[in-house]
Amino acid sequence: MELLILSGLLLTGSAAGVLGALFGLGGGFIFVPVLMLVFGLAPAEAVAVSLVGIIAGSTGASTVFVDRGSANVRLGLLMEITTAAGAVIGAALAAYLEDWLLMCIFSAVVLYSAARMILDPEKVIAPAENASGRFVFSYKDDGGRDSAYEVQNVRGGMLLCTAAGMISSMTGVGGGAVKVPLMNLYMHIPIKVASPTSSYMIGITAFSGAITYLLSGQILLEYAAGIAAGAFAGSLAGSAIASRVRTKHLRKYFSALLIAVAVRVLIQAGGIL
């Protein structure tokens, strides 16, 4: 592999790794178009390499987030069940629906979430004093204090995770772009917990697809290695920055990124990408 190509892969992986760790996204929306347009990979090759990069970034960030307690592992496991089930249903349904229509629906959902995150202040439901329960957790707020929060609308959230899994698998992007606003706006999970939890979940979601590609020999190993090494390094940098960014700014930057994702998917729906 030429040094120039390797440098490009490392750079792409690092950029996606930083953004992924900061905002709870997988980075597929960066990997796939760059691998296709800049490195000349076929769509299936780009998706396979992208999945390895997503895992490296997600797992790299999770080593920090899970250890620090900012990712809610229990809630992540629960929501991942319905997300994974939704992805299977979505893959089956995708054959019967037009791609451009799905992408337009996805963009509309993401744009709506972005607008809500900009306009609505963050709402965290504090549990009653001395309350305990399966869905009462705590996190470190902007001031570094331990704050308790009670997850709301768990059943509805799980149902919507099924829809998020369906949309993600039908459009090929959007795991984190749908789940983070869902957790923050609907389930009232603080954004400082929602993003790391989404980061943790994304690796588990990507595992199924990546192992299938790997065992059937469809992954370009050298490209995957370059992207993965960059994504891993980027994710460690991103997770270090994440703890220093204030909640208000995190929501604002995340909304801007959501708009960029929606525009990127709309361009894809128009057949330009």
Partner: protein, 88 residues
Amino acid sequence: MNTNRSTAMALRISVVLGIVLTVAGLILSVTGNGDRVLYSGIFLLVISPLIGVLVTFLSLVLSGDRFWAGIAAVLIAVTFSGVVASLL
């Protein structure tokens, strides 16, 4: 047994080992001998999220947290079913 600590440790060991093997394989591939090392590194990297879930499950079982251990078990079953279905 602290679930977060043990899960983070499992993720850290598998992903760092995976990255080290991957980079070693990439360097060895210049001489034309790195394919197996590269494959092993990518394989370890790809299965690291699953290793994390398995360790979480074990930790929850050992700490007697039956509800969340059950949730982890269901996720493992759903994930394995999905992989088997896509390989068939």
